[in-house]
């Protein structure tokens, strides 16, 4: 026996006497978590945040967050003798004069990229599977908060070294601050301690980057995880998986080993990337000076969409009554991100409002994206919007690489940003409904076996086999939502509803119809039972035909017509 296992008894006893630990341990040590590869995305985000904390602490031991001009005298020859800020010089020292410094810097930056990337994909998974529904709305908004903080924290972090690229990013941030109506100039002067770039901004940003934002993120992550733990994880539909149970592996030992092991895998891959792939080579950019710039300046990837918004915005500016509003900067730089994130944060409320019976139950079984066509469509629409902006952020790179006109790319995007996302919505919704039809078909007619038989009258037909229990369980997990109805003008007691209330309820009903009207309903239990018998019959007969094709005369001549339309109930 291992000493660790042997000592558990006395250890627990000692702790329990002081902290009443046994109750907690007995409830949680063998808690079951469902297994699916998409559940690792949030894990990656958590682990990269831990890596960020550890590597960040190391970097803070050497980084000097100061804009004081010094003359560089370190070991990177090309910049020797140049005057630069202490922040930049100390970043060079970390990269060239401290053993392992470059590695930790690159670990930190790679982990930051991974942090935002995994959060972004995690949020998509949660959205498309409807995991944000009751009871998880609070955790969804915490998640949106984390994503927002991730953007800001990442930007703050790569702005600290005060190199030419990051300084250009700060200059753009300064321009965006100035564009805020009424108070913009004051915001800029207070943030930078005067005119840009001043001599205090880097040390202010440092405090924000290493204390304020990580503190908030840590707080939000803690709440996020505690809620996930307490509410139990959602699971995908399948045989034996219902809205009332959790099927998976216990925390001890399987999850402890798998998730703990996965932390080391993420850590290991991040370190290997830092060892092999250069990221943010600030020595190649040179120190920041506001009168210089390199062509092809690009922010870190997660800022690309905002950069794109700035690039494709038409040059609208209004001057009236002695005041200027830079719509060309304020809309893309100030409003777009705020509006998108707000829309994300409030989306669960909209779905709650238009869904019949939403409040009456918990939603612990995940939706298949096809079964929520409007939600999936809206998600793809937003993604398309995001990707188009992101393309806009790289319009110079694309123009150069593909030898295109930058003006044409920009003009195309100016229109595409309004035209393509709605098209993506329609296409996605149609695709979802098509998949729903296919599911219904499968239930009513069985699975295509690929076995083609020829009937005595010369007709070719395919043998359809019954679905597996697993597949049936997955398809039948679908919820057939019935849209809300507009209320009658009087309530049950004959009292007339106020005009405003009536209008609001009608609007909600309208929206509800938009969400759910096109649903392809599941077969009724009776239809299913009949179909089941039919499929089985056809399948067995089909097999007989294949086995004794010379002797058998099928009854009625037809085994099954794969093109038959399912009887759709009239609306």
């Amino acid at each position: 026996m291992s000493a660790v296992v042997d000592k558990a008894g006395p250890m627990l006893e000692a702790l329990d006497e002081r902290l009443t630990l046994a109750n907690y341990v007995k409830r949680n040590l063998r808690k079951v978590f469902p297994d699916h590869w998409t559940f690792m995305l949030g894990e990656v985000a958590l682990y990269s945040f831990i890596i960020l904390l550890l590597s960040g602490i190391y970097l803070s031991l050497f980084f000097k967050p100061s804009m004081t001009e010094v003359v560089y005298n370190g070991s990177y020859a090309p910049l020797k003798g140049l005057s630069m800020s202490e922040a930049y010089a100390s970043t060079l020292d970390i990269s060239f004069d401290i053993r392992g410094g470059l590695l930790l810097r690159q670990i930190h930056h790679w982990a930051a990229m991974l942090f935002v990337a995994s959060m972004s994909i995690h949020v998509m998974r949660v959205f498309f599977t409807g995991a944000f529904r009751k009871p998880r709305e609070i955790n969804w908004s915490i998640g949106v908060g984390l994503l927002t903080m991730g953007f800001v924290e990442g930007f703050a972090g790569y702005s600290l070294p005060d190199d030419l690229l990051s300084g250009t990013g700060l200059r753009i941030a300064e321009g965006i601050m100035l564009s805020v109506p009424v108070v913009g100039t004051y915001i800029q002067f207070f943030v930078f301690g005067g005119e840009f770039p001043g001599d205090i901004f880097i040390s202010r940003l440092y405090g924000v980057h290493i204390l304020l934002l990580p503190g908030i993120i840590l707080l939000l992550i803690t709440a996020h995880l505690m809620i996930v733990w307490y509410q139990k994880h959602t699971q995908y539909p399948g045989k034996g998986r219902t809205n009332d149970n959790v099927v998976g592996y216990p925390v001890l030992p399987v999850y402890a080993a798998k998730a703990g092991g996965f932390f080391f895998v993420v850590f290991g891959i991040t370190v290997l990337m830092a060892g092999f792939v250069t990221i943010n080579p600030i020595w190649a950019y040179g120190p920041y000076t506001p009168d210089q710039i390199t062509a092809g300046s690009q922010p870190d990837w997660y800022m690309g969409w905002l950069e794109g918004a700035l690039r494709i915005m038409p040059n609208w500016e209004t001057t009236a009554w002695g005041h200027t509003i830079s719509w060309n900067v304020f809309i893309p730089g100030g409003l777009v991100m705020g509006l998108v994130l707000t829309a994300m944060a409030i989306y669960p409320m909209i779905e709650a409002k238009v869904t019949r019976g939403y409040k009456d139950q918990d939603h612990d079984l995940l939706d298949r994206p096809r079964n929520a066509p409007v939600r999936t469509g809206l998600g793809v629409m937003s993604l398309t919007f995001y990707i188009l902006l992101w393309i806009g952020g790289g319009n110079d790179i694309i123009a150069k690489f593909f030898d295109l006109s930058i003006n044409q790319i920009t003009w195309t995007l100016r229109f595409a940003i309004f035209i393509v996302p709605p098209l993506a919505f329609v296409a996605t919704k149609r695709a979802c409904l098509g998949l729903q039809r296919k599911d219904r078909d499968k239930l009513l007619h069985g699975r295509e076996t690929g076995t083609i038989i020829r009937l005595p009258d010369g007709e070719f037909t395919e043998v359809h086999a019954p679905l597996s229990e697993e597949e049936k369980a997955v398809i039948l997990s679908k919820t057939d939502h019935i849209p809300l109805e507009a209320p009658a003008e009087t309530d049950a007691n004959g009292v007339a509803l106020s005009k405003r209330k009536l209008k609001a309820a009608r609007r909600t009903a309208h929206l509800s119809r938009w969400f759910y009207d096109d649903n392809i309903p599941k077969p009724t239990p009776e239809e299913l039972a009949a179909a089941e018998a039919h499929i089985l019959h056809g399948y067995e007969e089909g097999h007989l035909v294949t086995e004794h094709r010379d002797s058998l005369e099928p009854e009625g001549g037809v085994l099954h017509d794969p093109n038959a339309e399912p009887a759709e109930p009239s609306k």
Partner: protein, 351 residues
């Protein structure tokens, strides 16, 4: 309610509104298939060795990391074909440290997958909502407490407290006042004054018209800038006052922002513009000689220098301010006047 019943028919769950189709035997899990390691002791032994090997490799990598840290000088570079010179230290430390972590992870996951109990288990969910009695009790507690406090009854206490509390954060905002000076007129002014020489960036040498050939473009700044920068200890002046000098054939100049035929703003086709983009302030650096277009590499705002630096493309709304120039007695280029408008990005107070 019948609609609702219909709506979630088939959804498996405990709620009374849920109807389970009779033929779906959902509550059974698929049977747990035995793994090879469950039935074949040899396979189990092999898996055990694999796991131990991973942990062993990790330990080796950790030792190797320490050796590399001490042994490899930080300025040693490895010539890697096609990739140039790589820092040997970074490569070795990354490789060893990365593998040390990676192998712990792989070993642990292999252990979980091959050797730990492999069946899925089911736990029931419990309703998150408390029983109604508990809620009622909680509310009663709250009301009892609220009642004892007199919060609802003692209006004047309540209101004065709310007033005090809503005012209390004000100092936390007021105290931020000294984060920076008020803008005053600093965004309107630059270092440029009548007669101030344009000097080259970064050589700080004054410029004669003959230094700039037709089609040429150079970066410049006010001659006092280096001294001001030294004195202020910031790059503020450089962020605002830098200019470009461009020379066009006089017949190519379609228009300028000002000047008369007796006192033009250019000097023999040499024009001076602010280098700071009117969009969000990037220095503008890409000049296309053939079209006289100046392009900002940040967001591609394009200005036609032959036509008053008007915006011909991109998100910038205003042309680049032009600085009227002439030459002084010694033949060096100087400013005729200061800029007639603020340079750089727009702001609310700008008329």
């Amino acid at each position: 309610m019948s609609d609702t019943d219909n709506a979630i028919a088939g959804e498996t769950g405990s709620s009374t509104q849920v109807v389970k189709p009779p033929f779906v035997a959902n509550p059974d899990l698929p049977p747990h298939g035995a793994r090879r390691t469950d039935v074949d002791p040899k396979a189990a032994k092999r898996a055990e060795h694999q796991v131990a090997t991973c942990f062993g490799l990790s330990a080796l990598a950790t030792v190797a990391f320490c050796i590399c840290y001490v042994q490899i000088p930080i300025d040693a570079y490895l010539p890697i074909p096609f990739f140039g010179a790589w820092s040997a230290s970074n490569l070795a430390l990354g490789l060893t440290f990365g593998l040390a972590a990676f192998f712990i992870g792989v070993g642990a996951i292999q252990w979980a997958k091959k050797l730990m109990f492999g069946g899925e288990v089911t736990q029931m969910r419990h309703p998150l909502a408390s029983p109604p009695e508990a809620r009622e009790e909680a509310l009663e507690q709250f009301w009892a407490g609220a009642d004892e406090s007199g919060f609802a009854q003692r209006k004047i206490v309540r209101r004065s407290l709310l007033m005090a509390m809503s005012l209390f954060p004000i100092p936390l905002i007021v105290i931020l006042r000294d984060l920076g000076p008020l803008p005053s007129d600093s965004l309107y002014t630059t270092l440029w004054r009548p007669g101030m020489r344009v000097v080259l960036d970064p050589t700080e040498a004054p410029v004669r018209p003959s230094d700039i050939p037709v089609g040429g473009i150079v970066s410049g700044m006010p001659s006092v800038l280096p001294a001001v920068q030294e004195e202020q200890g910031t790059l503020n002046a450089r962020a605002k006052d830098v200019v470009i000098l461009v020379r066009l054939a006089p017949e190519d100049i379609k228009s300028q922002q000002g000047g008369t035929s007796s006192q033009p703003w250019d000097y023999q086709g040499i024009m001076c513009f602010s280098k700071i983009c009117t969009h969000v302030g990037c220095p503008i650096a890409l000049y296309e000689q053939r079209t006289h277009h100046l392009l900002c590499p940040c967001h591609q705002s394009t200005f036609d220098l032959a036509d008053s630096a008007n915006v011909v493309f991109g998100p910038a709304a205003r042309r680049l301010p032009q600085l009227p120039i002439t030459v002084d007695a010694e033949g060096f280029i100087v400013a005729q006047t200061a800029f007639d408008q603020p340079v750089g990005p727009s702001f609310w107070e700008r008329a």
